[in-house]
């Protein structure tokens, strides 16, 4: 494999974005076009540096992060939860979830109703207000390349397929379906790499988490 650095004019911006955990898709036309054209060279170069570049045929690129044992990544859990909620909410409304999450958009004005309807679930992800929803979910979605925010309209990008794949794998998980009907749920926790910010936030929020869970439990017992 010959790697011609002169051709890789977008190397620095591509690496910077991927290294941050960003998913590159058509929303970044120049880096995306170059990654598509020089896919093998980029993959070989990054591999030599110890990074595995994933080239998803549905139109996006990202680095595979290292598995971090049993450490739980709250961001991934929150974003997955948000996707599940959105799919169900849209289906309930008679809208097509795939049309929205695969290139469609969602208005900021739709968030309050969503938060209200799924408050019990959002509480589990430590999201109780619209500001928190925007900060902890929407902002992270845009930071990681899953969505674009254009003046309060959130347009979902092809990397959202990673979350839709989660839905598919959950659907195929017979164990999960079976365990839903049993009293015991020995389900493993999601393992995700946590960046430094996450660790700090999680440590600070441990009390809040306990409080949020207590509130949720209380609400559940009242209901």
């Amino acid at each position: 494999m010959n790697i011609d650095l002169k051709e890789m004019t977008q190397l620095a911006p591509i690496f910077r974005e991927l290294f941050k955990g960003y998913h590159l898709s058509r929303s970044e036309p120049e880096p995306y076009a170059q990654l598509s054209n020089l896919q093998d060279q980029y993959r070989a170069l990054f591999k030599a540096l110890g990074f595995e570049l994933v080239c998803d045929p549905r139109g996006f690129y990202y680095f595979v992060p290292e598995q971090a044992g049993a450490q739980v990544n709250k961001t991934a859990q929150r974003l997955a939860l948000f996707t599940f909620i959105l799919v169900e909410h849209l289906a309930d409304q008679g809208r097509d979830p795939l049309a929205v999450l695969d290139g469609g958009s969602l208005g900021r004005d739709e968030l309050p109703a969503l938060l209200e309807k799924y408050r019990d679930l959002f509480v589990q992800a430590e999201v109780t207000t619209q500001d928190e929803l925007e900060e902890k979910v929407i902002r992270r979605l845009t930071q990681l390349g899953f969505a674009e925010d254009s003046n309060g309209v959130y347009r979902f990008l092809p990397p959202m397929h990673r979350f839709l794949d989660v839905c598919l794998s959950v659907q195929q998980d017979r164990d999960l379906a079976a365990s839903l009907h049993s009293s015991d749920l020995p389900l493993p926790a999601p393992t995700l790499v946590v960046d430094d910010d996450d660790i700090l936030v999680d440590d600070e929020e441990s009390e809040e988490e306990a409080l949020a869970r207590a509130i949720a439990d209380e609400q559940e017992s009242l209901a």
């Binding site: 190397l11 540096l49 992060p65 859990q77 939860l81 599940f84 809208r95 795939l98 049309a99 749920l185």
Partner: protein
């Protein structure tokens, strides 16, 4: 008996009125009042009498027929409806069963043809061959119609309102797949009814050609060859129609199935989270997407710096020495061999301190080279050694702390 010319003339004269009505009749029947309202819309300047006259004419010509047991509701005569659908290039998907029935009929006709030939009835043979040919044309017509109808099904699914749930949008696709494509796959399969029927008819026709050559002609060979060619055309068309159907509908069907799976998966995940909390979603299925970790032996910042250096990489020409250029300074000395050093050491015995002697011999020697010689000479069997106290020695570049040896000749060596 209604004169065909009058029907055709009425259709031609009233085409602008009939064409919009076709769509309404595609969806169901119309009452007399609805019909009058529709026509009134089309004929804003028409009087109620002229509307009545037009409707009367259509009913008299059997273009419109009353619905059974509902004399006040009307529908288009089925034959006229089909004719108009053909003119409007509207295609309604038929049933796979119809094709199967046609094929059974083709097989029966092949049997009659064989019988007619065996009793040498030329007229009956020609008649049966004509029937066979017409039946094959029916199948071809039907396949062509079905193909267009399938295109329509796919187009309707793709162009319908994106806000409608996919399950509803693709309902027609899923039904078409189950009711038409799936049975067609069975029918056109290598061991299916279609292939069997075609093979049987083909065998009869080929046998007939051979027998005619042997026993003399009952019918023109061209008729047999033409029918045979049409049978093969029908076979190819059926396979092409099926392939087109799969190409058109399979992606949509997969999309619908995937959509159902996604919706169900999301509901399942939410149910699990409600019951057991956020950790209920299996970790293996969740994507990892935070800051990636390199397996490179270096810190993240070193890798970053390295990549940026790579991105700014500018090749520099390498200067090689010219063959003609002379060396500056003295030529480098060839490294000493072990034999040379051992001989020199032997000649210098007894040595009160090996390391001091080495430093005297090689004052410009590199530290690693001196340590190598120290180790090599101290271990040689021709010397006997005594360990000295640890002390420091200064090489050209380093301060070395070691326990040297005093060497004498080995009494046994």
């Amino acid at each position: 008996m209604i004169e065909p010319k009058r029907v055709l003339r009425a259709l031609a004269e009233h085409w602008t009125l009939l064409e919009p009505l076709c769509e309404r009749f595609d969806a169901g029947t119309l009452s007399l009042v609805e019909l009058r309202n529709q026509l009134a819309l089309q004929l804003p300047e028409g009087t109620p009498e002229s509307v009545t006259a037009t409707l009367d004419q259509w009913i008299r010509l059997d273009i419109l027929v009353p619905v059974a047991k509902s004399p006040n509701r009307f529908e288009l005569n089925a034959q006229i409806h089909d004719f108009l659908a053909y003119l409007r290039r509207e295609h309604r998907l038929g049933l796979c069963l119809e094709i199967e029935a046609y094929l059974r009929h083709l097989e029966r006709l092949a049997g009659y043809i064989q019988d007619a030939f065996e009793i040498r009835d030329g007229n009956d043979l020609a008649r049966q061959l004509r029937l066979l040919d017409m039946r094959v044309r029916d199948v071809l017509k039907k396949l062509a119609n079905d193909e267009q109808a399938l295109v329509g099904v796919a187009e309707r699914a793709k162009t319908s309102d994106r806000q409608i749930p996919l399950r509803q949008r693709y309902a027609e696709v899923l039904a078409t797949w189950d009711e038409y494509v799936e049975p067609m796959i069975q029918l056109v399969a290598a061991d299916g009814a279609f292939e069997q029927g075609v093979r049987r008819v083909e065998q009869v026709l080929l046998k007939l050609l051979g027998e005619q050559a042997r026993l003399g002609q009952l019918v023109d060979d061209d008729l047999l060859l033409r029918t045979h060619a049409r049978i093969l055309e029908m076979q190819t068309t059926a396979q092409l129609t099926l392939r087109k159907a799969r190409e058109l509908l399979l992606p949509l069907r997969e999309e619908a199935r995937r959509h159902n799976a996604v919706t169900r998966g999301a509901a399942l995940a939410l149910a699990a989270i409600r019951k057991k909390g956020l950790d209920a979603v299996p970790q293996a299925s969740l994507p990892l997407f935070t800051r990636p970790q390199s397996t490179f032996l270096g810190s993240a910042s070193q890798v970053e710096a390295y990549v940026y250096a790579l991105a700014r990489f500018q090749p520099k020409p390498t200067q090689f020495p010219r063959a003609s250029a002379g060396r500056k300074g003295a030529p480098p000395r060839a490294p000493r061999t072990a034999r040379e050093m051992l001989e020199r050491c032997e000649q210098a015995l007894p040595l009160p301190d090996l390391m001091s002697w080495l430093l005297e011999q090689e004052p410009e020697g590199a530290t690693d080279e001196l340590l190598y010689w120290f180790s090599r000479l101290a271990r040689d069997t021709r010397f006997s050694r005594d360990r000295l106290e640890r002390r420091e020695y200064l090489t050209r570049e380093h301060r070395v702390s070691l326990s040297s040896f005093a060497l004498v000749a080995n009494a046994n060596g």
